[in-house]
């Protein structure tokens, strides 16, 4: 099953399970979804529960938050997460803070989902990693699913969660295939990292597209005699620091890979908590491999240079492994 189909299955199952769940967004109904994630749902559930909105991200996200305040469980689709910037005030000032500033009276069970991350030649405004805009905010949970199974299991948990969840799918991963359970009770808890590949010499932390690159590099380096462990956080907030720290204590070396611009990115935070919690276990400074600190260019060669390549990931791994004589 593809990543896209896994998401569709999660939505369908949760809508069957809970009549409070409904879908809001641009082109989610009649058009069957700009990326076909909501395909067939209008036909199955009708226009009351699959609601096409006009183009007004701030407005319809706010409507979703209002409905969640009084007990519905909206799933709001951002056609792409790039457009969520228009709804940032609603997501941060309304959804994330309502539970706190009402002293625990009004929680907001909403999922805001859609594709994000670098895509193919979509240029600066349609091709960017948006997670850093959200994981800084107390009150939000932030998910970036890497595999089709994660897509289904994590989306179901997000819908069942009582808090606002920002669920950023990977645009380039929609067609990838993988094993997915068709059990309607299958879920993956939020806040649980997974070790994708066990290894002895170095821990590579990576998610979505970068996880696949890290796995390719790990297989290559295996032939050079380097044993690479790959850890995928899956949920960025709350972050499963325990699994990552556990891996680093074992390998004593760490590389963090992210597609987004590096300055104050996910890698900064992961490197910081590894340094704070496992400094004495480290044999080398934590290395970051990040997207260039530039907007996404259009030209194919420049675009390729913007995101971390397998070569840059391999280079970073070799660098941390050569420090202090492995």
């Amino acid at each position: 099953m593809t990543y896209r189909e896994a998401l569709n299955m999660a939505l369908r199952e949760e809508m069957q399970r809970d009549p409070r769940v409904f879908i809001f967004g641009e082109e989610v109904g009649l058009y069957d979804g700009a990326y076909k994630v909501t395909q067939g749902l209008l036909k199955e559930f009708g226009p009351k529960r699959v609601v096409d909105t006009p183009i007004c991200e701030s407005g319809f996200t706010g409507v979703g938050i209002g409905a969640a305040m009084v007990g519905l469980r909206p799933v709001v689709e951002m056609m792409t997460f790039n457009f969520s910037i228009l709804a940032l005030d609603q997501i941060i000032n309304s959804a994330a803070k309502m539970y706190y500033m009402s002293g625990g009276q009004f929680n907001i069970p909403i999922v805001i989902r859609g594709p994000g991350g670098p895509a193919y030649q979509l240029a600066a405004q349609h091709s960017q990693s948006m997670e850093s805009y959200f994981y800084h905010v107390p009150g939000l949970k932030v998910v970036r699913p890497t595999t089709p199974a994660d897509a289904k299991g994590l989306l179901k948990s997000a819908i069942r969660d009582d808090n606002p969840v920002v669920f950023i799918e990977a645009e380039t991963l929609y067609p990838i295939k993988g094993e997915v359970s068709d059990d309607p009770d299958f879920t993956i808890p939020l806040g649980q990292a997974i070790v994708r590949r066990e290894g002895r010499d170095v821990t590579v932390v990576a998610y979505v597209g970068m996880m696949y690159r890290a796995m390719e590099v790990a297989a290559e380096l295996d032939t050079e005699g380097l044993s690479v462990e790959v850890v995928d956080p899956r949920t960025l907030r709350p972050m499963d620091t325990e699994t990552i720290i556990g891996s680093v204590r074992k390998t004593h070396r760490a590389v963090v890979v992210e597609a987004g611009a590096g300055f104050a990115g996910m890698g900064s935070e992961i490197a910081a908590f590894i340094t704070e919690q496992a400094f004495d276990d480290l044999d080398a400074p934590v290395e970051r491999v990040t997207g260039a600190n530039a907007p996404m260019p259009y030209a194919r060669n420049l675009e390729r240079a913007k995101t971390p390549s397998n070569e840059r990931i391999a280079e970073a791994i070799r660098k941390v492994c050569s420090a202090n004589g492995r």
């Binding site: 319809f60 519905l72 009402s102 625990g104 009004f106």
Partner: protein, 331 residues
């Protein structure tokens, strides 16, 4: 003095007392809040509702307890009129543990689940879509609850006002939007901010019926909101009301007189139309209340607010461990 509504169907001594008493309660509450701010018991921003009481009281008087209300940051009056305990509202302003939001919200973020008061939102215009969402949920569930959404004239220039009008009309949502046009968004007059200063007319473009109402006349507000709530319940449709009112104090306690952007003469002139003064006179003229009744109401209100201040003073500060509670709701 301004002309009052000619007829007042359904008004009796009981209702008259209730309306006057609530307006006086809000006025007294705000005066005491201002005093407490000067004493340093209240911090941050404090936006007083003095002069605008007829809007919240008139509107709330036609709501059922299961109807909802939502507001911006000048919301003490709306919260009290919806039925919140003044002691807990004052304690919230004082930042104490017995406050409505346990001291975590303050003056601008009052919430009360027990009265269906949904806040307390301090980004101008942002709660208008929330109100549409509550109406969406009411309709989704097949209920006939209404929601009234109060906002100032300052919100009308925001995109979210227009997005909300469009969505409320497009989806036929049972929401009553009440613009409290007090003439100024902070220091910017309506004339300096809006291409169309007759705010209710903005509804026309979206097919949202609306009207302007004298926001200093509690009975006029009551009637207009009554019609709008009826439309929400029976036709599942939105309304845009423009209540023309005036704030007698500045924008906030940091602008105590509001003297830079308006003249003293203008303020004095508007004070002639004090909604409490107008309604009190009317009550006496119509024979709904006697001078003695009014005195009793005044005394009761003063006692209640004194009690509220004493309660807030006595309430402890929130414990430090609350800093990190209520961020995420646990499964």
């Amino acid at each position: 003095m301004a002309q009052l509504t000619p007829a007042a169907p359904g008004v009796d001594a009981g209702l008259a007392r209730q309306l006057l008493s609530q307006m006086m309660l809000i006025r007294r509450f705000e005066e005491k809040a201002a005093e407490s701010y000067a004493l340093g018991k209240i911090g941050g921003f404090l936006h007083l509702y003095i002069g605008e009481e007829a809007v919240a009281v008139g509107a709330s008087s036609v709501l059922r307890p299961d109807d909802y209300a939502i507001s911006a940051y000048r919301e003490h009056g709306h919260c009290l009129a919806k039925g919140s305990d003044p002691r807990r509202v004052m304690a919230e302003l004082f930042g104490r543990r017995d406050g409505l939001s346990h001291g975590k919200g303050g003056s601008m973020h009052l919430f009360d689940k027990t009265t269906n008061f949904l806040g307390g939102h301090a980004i101008v215009g942002a709660h208008l879509p929330l109100a549409a969402g509550v109406a969406f949920a009411n309709k989704y569930r097949g209920g006939d609850q209404a929601i009234v959404c109060y906002f100032g004239d300052g919100a009308v220039a925001q995109g979210e006002f227009h997005e909300s009008m469009n969505l409320a009309a497009l989806w036929k949502l049972p929401v009553v939007y009440i613009c409290e046009n007090n003439g100024y968004a902070m220091g910017t007059s309506v004339e300096r901010a809006l291409a169309q200063t007759e705010i209710w007319r903005f509804g026309h473009a979206y097919g949202v019926p609306g009207e302007a109402v004298d926001g200093m006349d509690v009975l006029a507000v009551r009637e207009a909101v009554g019609r709008a709530v009826d439309r929400a319940r029976r036709e599942q449709a939105p309304t845009l009301l423009e209540a023309r009112t005036y704030r007698f104090r500045g924008h906030s306690m940091r602008d105590p007189a509001g003297a830079i952007y308006r003249t003293k003469e203008e303020v004095e002139h508007e004070k002639q139309r004090d909604p409490i003064l107008l309604f009190r006179t009317r009550c006496l003229q119509e024979g709904w209340l006697t001078e003695a009744d009014v005195k009793t109401v005044e005394k009761d209100v003063n006692d209640l607010i004194d009690e509220a201040v004493a309660f807030a003073d006595a309430s402890p500060e929130p414990p430090l461990e609350w800093l990190l509670s209520d961020i995420y709701k646990e499964g």
